[in-house]
Point group: C2
DNA sequence: TCACACGTTGACGTTAACGTTAACGTAATT
DNA sequence: AATTACGTTAACGTTAACGTCAACGTGTGA
């Protein structure tokens, strides 16, 4: 085989492709890059996103749906892959993770409470419908 | 008893009290009022918040912790007490409630996924600590 | 060759949710 | 009477997360 292409090259994406897939604008992707959340490589000037970039984007957007700021999402993403091999740094990281988890657990409670309330509200609506007729 | 005070007057609050209890600034409370989220009564010029106001504030802040905008929280709060006696309006409301519930259910999934991820990240950290020593 | 679709980098505009400052009134202490 | 502590309105400032130009380069099919 004379081809110079590696057999298992990782999938890569152009800015437009990623934007369409996740339903964000290209401006958004460039903005995330400015903030250091994505670091696509380049071919000439045009950005080329790796599978890892895609995953990070996914996580960012998931964070957004949770109401997290971009910085908070960035923090969390950093927690996912081990940065420091130093044991002191790891301990710090564990602390941070536990903090975040506590916060999210609280959020989960709020969420469940709100869902309950809405369920109740809906039931009341249905009930009042019965009595109208 | 010659007292003119009703025996079971509802509890009321000054702006400072509410602000301190919920750890927000008085500016925030006034801002919420501008947006129509709170409607304290007045004694002269100074605001007097009722128990109902307090509850609404609680709901607003719960919404914030979920990442909702003030407008979204306002919507939800409106869902809690029946506005329209009209059956068409009630049907519309039920729809809106179901929409919101769907959205929150999605958010709950995101949240649980993130919690799982963090749990895993923490476990990895703990593990790597073992191998350092 | 020329339009056209796609990419790029600035740079200014916009909205939400308050913060901050100014300028003032009022009620209780000192 | 003066200070202190609280309240008020009005208005401008700030930050985050993009939107929206403008001005330009690049490849490709008619």
């Amino acid at each position: 085989m004379a081809s110079s292409k590696p057999e298992h090259a990782e999938k890569s994406y152009l800015i437009r492709e990623l934007a369409e897939e996740f339903n964000v604008t290209t401006r958004t992707l460039r903005f995330y890059e400015e903030k250091g959340l994505l670091k696509p490589s380049r071919i000439g000037a045009t950005r080329v996103y790796s599978a890892a970039d895609r995953t990070r984007l996914k996580l960012i957007l998931r964070g957004k749906r949770l109401g997290l700021s971009l910085d908070e999402s960035a923090e969390i993403i950093l927690m996912y892959d081990p940065v420091g091999t130093n044991s002191k740094q790891i301990l710090t990281l564990i602390d941070a993770i536990q903090d975040k988890r506590l916060h999210l657990e609280k959020q989960k409670q709020d969420l469940e409470q709100t869902l309950e309330d809405l369920e109740l509200a809906e039931a009341k609506c249905v009930e009042s419908l019965k009595h109208i007729h």
